[in-house]
Subunit: 293 residues, 2 copies
Amino acid sequence: MQTYLDCIPCAMQQLLRTARLVTDDEAVHLQVLISVGEGLANIRLSDTPPEMARDLYRRLYEITGNPDPYYQLRRKSTRRALALYPRLKAFVESAEDPLFAAASVAATGNLIDYGVLKGEISIEEEVDVSLSMDTHWDEFPIFRDDLTSAEWILYIGDNAGETVFDRVFIETIDKPVIYVVRGGPAINDALLEDAVDAGLDRVAELLPSGLAAAGVIPHLCSDRLQEKFFSAPLIISKGQGNCEALNETEAPIYFLLKVKCEVMANLIQAPMGELVLRRSLNYKPVQDSARPA
Amino acid sequence: MQTYLDCIPCAMQQLLRTARLVTDDEAVHLQVLISVGEGLANIRLSDTPPEMARDLYRRLYEITGNPDPYYQLRRKSTRRALALYPRLKAFVESAEDPLFAAASVAATGNLIDYGVLKGEISIEEEVDVSLSMDTHWDEFPIFRDDLTSAEWILYIGDNAGETVFDRVFIETIDKPVIYVVRGGPAINDALLEDAVDAGLDRVAELLPSGLAAAGVIPHLCSDRLQEKFFSAPLIISKGQGNCEALNETEAPIYFLLKVKCEVMANLIQAPMGELVLRRSLNYKPVQDSARPA
């Protein structure tokens, strides 16, 4: 999707929260806001939000000298999610429909998102609420069919910690999975090391995207990512950032996410807070999808 | 209070909403955001938020050529509030403690605030909810005493429409009241004509502040406002903008408002959404308060 004007003040809030993670010095926070303000002149609304945000984040890194403000939070999120792993497994194993339960676990994990969170969350409490929600996905039967006929799956991860929830889902899918992580720091999104910390290397092949952005933007990613992306029989795309980056790309994509802002709620036609599994409107089976020039 | 860094992205959201009231042209909206972004370099955090916002709004007016984007909304809010007037009067008249009920009506009216609202609200529904809330104000007995001993009251208004709720309160106070309105457009804040539309001219002397800002900043206001402000035996200050502008001013002020952002919630130590009556921490009886040089 394009960048919406509402994404701009929202990005500014996100950058302020990020600056506060790096330092307590308010003068630096203000300097970041001023620099981001200057950067608005370069914004192209035709860029997707993860692409738009890259230049603004670069300004923060230049001012603070810290290229990875979420390093500690990512580790902490993974540890806390790992502590929940037995509960998540039990939830799936006791479910009438384990695949559906595992998909809803993966969607639930998308709540760990410091891009939109205003403070620390109680992952434990939120998970209890999410898992007790009466999730209904109209498209789940089609998803199950597409999954059954796919030889392998490209699974595009989002946040650190959410990785543990994804692992539970992947352990339930009896197929080879390539799990995509970010190629460099982008908010609290999972990098290679975060995926390993979550134990994903035991259940999937790990593939860094080659890009430090909060979404997979195929033409900016590594050749290997592009090769896998455009040959994948089925793609599971986690979270808003990936959906923002990929919703106009012709590929066999299902988006799995929690709706966390009004722009996404409008785009995906689902209320705020909802767990969503949605077949892309630009879903194209792999033989029909062409790699862009 | 000073401007908090959180006020900056929030002001940007507010300006985007305001730009959308003026035109549907997204190119203009973006132009406003870019200009506001440039303006961040001039922000002084030592200014109060209403003062800080003035330069940013000036940019919007220069770009759009519209100095009063809320003109229609103000009129509409007053009309809708007037339709509620009989219900508000009945609520007060049937109350065990009419003065308390009238003060809570006035606080309830502060929900009509397009500075923080994301869209149109159902005033009618919100009023029902607010009036059924179990409001408790520790300082109400002191307020009642201060009100009883005051010869007259300076009542600083906030939003158009809220004026009708203020009128109900003022009709319950058996004292001369001077009602302060903004000296020029500031979001949907009441101007002289809005106060007249609400019928406030029948129950109070109306006094424009001499300043087009979303809060009374005494040293920038007219001589007449300053004279009345610094001689008032009791001041009732409505809404966040006035509280932001006046909470450090030594004067006999009570703040009456609905808490609508985290910064205010922190400042006033009350949860979001709460109706608050609060004696200023810098409350000084009139004989002790000095007009600043």
